[in-house]
Amino acid sequence: MADDWASLFADRKKAAAQPAAAPAPRTFTGPRPAIEVSRVSKIYRRYSQRKQFATLKSALLSRSLIQNLRPDETFTALNDISLTVPKGRTLGVIGRNGSGKSTLLKLVAGITKPSDGTVSVDGRISALIELGAGFHPEISGRENVFINGIMLGLTKREVTDRFEEIVEFAEMKDFIDAPVKTYSSGMYMRLGFAVAIHVDPEVLLVDEVLAVGDEGFTHKCLDKFAEFKRRGKTILLVTHSLGMVERFCDEAVWLDAGRIKGSGDPKRIVGAYITDVERQEERELAATDAKAKESASVDIVSPDEPASAVLPDNPVEAATGPADMFRAAEGRWGSREVEITAVTLSGTDGTPGHVFHSGERLDVTIQMRAPLPIDDFVVGFGLFNAEGVCCYGTNTSIEELTPERLAGDVEAIFTIDALDLVEGTYKLDVAIHKIDGYPYDYHRLLHTFRVKSRTKDVGIYRPRHSWRFTGDVRFTKTPG
């Protein structure tokens, strides 16, 4: 099992090694592609204190509203994007927030015009960008279906013909004559989705709108997409649901900051994207880590008046007191007779990092410095999840290691053979203190790392497990 995971991730890393395959100009022989975007850029104006237009005249006469703007007043949402979707294919667009996915969709839909380059679409478009846009709250669902349908390009007749089907699909039979303002947001979205999907477009543009109903409805939507695919329609799908891209799309494009960072086989692109997101998270965690340590160093209790100043009678509590343990915010304290100089986390390959995969090995290296040799010390380790639940805690004293000597620069390496945790963010307590609890250096929740997992299991701990079945039980392999 672990090997499976490991190999999966190894694949991903390999994919990541060669991600930025520039959008090679693909050549298609045969029919016109359904969507053709060539060298498109989109520049938005930034809102600034400056007046939108100097005068009315200049507003009407200036050839381009954008050309005259200084670069600091513009925002390039898309930068020289070219892509082609042949008829009958499904293209998934992935990327972080703000990478230009929705802008691309709007350009293809014709809602906004590119600042540069051309977009051409062959066939009737239906854009599922915002469901139920244009529903009027005061009038009934029935009337809104008609108006929305006509708005999306149907004739009155066509809406009449499909009306039953639309209502059926939206599961709205009982409420179709009630004014739309009385609908719940789910009903509103379902009706909007039902209308949009029944426009029967040749080109369907979908922007992250599938989370519109319960499980059952979502399945119905997915079935509808599958039907579209079967009938040879072209779909452009913008989504954060990477699983959908892998399952549904023939091809994927990864947008990053307005540029195409990779395109091609969905599995490969999704893999490369995930790896990149992890790297990004890694950087962010490292940054928060550094910040936490920085702010913690302000709280340092001076060595002259060690924890005794806080709790003179019971130094045990100062270090590990349970009341503190589960409530205390991150921080650092201790006398610094021994100082923890650095804590590094490293995974299977030994390189330090902050993002690890469930089931991998994790090494926590604690570097310490003791200017004077000491003989009374305990090295402790605590693992907490994001809610502050202690997942595991131990120290050398609990594990019956009797201290003898610690001097100079030393390292303690705490190895977890398999990080059997579910996906999430975890924090570490790392400490060195006396056997009675008197703290030398206590790092409270200062070290953060993230565990990634392909399985969306729940809880805290993932026991090593497997499934076996006896009798007549069969499964089909989940695609993807």
Binding site: A127, I139, I147, I150
Partner: protein
């Protein structure tokens, strides 16, 4: 621009259903519903009749049936003024459509003007009843010109609405400026005073009234519906008709010019 203009007839059905929606939504939830379209002008007319018959009978010399006279000008003005007021905000309030649906934006001001025209039509029966009751000098020949006046006003209003709606997206102040301009415009139009019977003190302003396009619309309505005698103002009306078409083309050009910015600015 011309290409876009040529596309407009394709959206007839959409305009139709949006106008219907507009009208339905306005009275949805009220008990009397559509009857308000009759009741509102009726009460207005009754109040004016009462005031100008009993309270201040000789307010305007030379006009026998002042409330009816005033009403002939007031109804078209209401259509015009409320069209412009609504149109100035229509692209902003309809921003959802422009941003999220592929939708020719000019449909929104067109719907506004058309819906207000329907309201105007709904108020006409009241006017007709009173015209007949007071034996207004209606002639068939003059009445045949009535649709022409309506058409000219429609085009003129549409032109104004297109410009206003497009510019308001960029200059939100227009909404406030407009309400002031409209009240000035109202008094600069011979609606509550007759053009022909203006007092000597106002003669100096009279020639400027001719510069006001709406003057000619109102005078046309008044000549057709209220005053006896031939419809002598038709030349002015024809000129205004030609001017309105020109204005409409200009307005459409402006609108088309700014079209691409709507999705980003609203």
């Amino acid at each position: 621009m011309l290409h876009n203009l040529a596309q407009l007839p394709r959206y007839r059905a959409l305009i139709q259903s949006l106008v219907a929606r507009e009208l339905k939504a306005r009275y949805r939830g009220s008990v009397l519903g559509f009857f308000w379209s009759f009741i509102n002008p009726l009460t207005l007319l009754l109040i004016y009749t009462f005031v100008f018959k009993y309270v201040m009978p000789s307010a305007v010399p030379g006009i026998d049936n002042y409330p009816l006279f005033m009403f002939c000008g007031l109804l078209p003005w209401t259509w015009f003024a409320s069209s412009l007021t609504e149109a100035s905000g229509v692209l902003i309030s309809g921003g959802n459509l422009i941003k999220k649906v592929l939708f020719p934006a000019e449909i929104l001001p067109i719907v506004t003007v058309t819906a207000n025209m329907i309201h105007f039509f709904l108020a006409l029966p009241i006017l007709v009843v009173f015209l007949i009751y007071y034996r207004a000098p209606l002639t068939v020949g003059e009445l045949l010109c009535f649709p022409l006046v309506v058409l000219v006003q429609y085009i003129f209003t549409l032109a104004c609405a297109l410009i206003l709606s497009a510019l308001t997206v960029h200059f939100r102040d227009i909404k406030d400026i407009l309400s002031n301009v409209l009240s000035l415009w109202f008094f600069a139009t011979p609606i509550i005073y007759p053009y022909l019977h203006m007092p000597a003190s106002a003669q100096a302003f009279k020639k400027y009234l001719n510069l006001n396009p709406f003057t000619h619309l109102v005078i046309s309505y008044q000549e057709i519906l209220f005053f006896a005698g031939p419809f002598g103002h038709w030349k002015w009306l024809a000129a205004l008709g030609v001017g309105s078409v020109g204005l409409f083309l200009f307005a459409y050009w402006v609108f088309d010019r700014l079209r691409d910015s709507f999705a980003e600015e609203v």
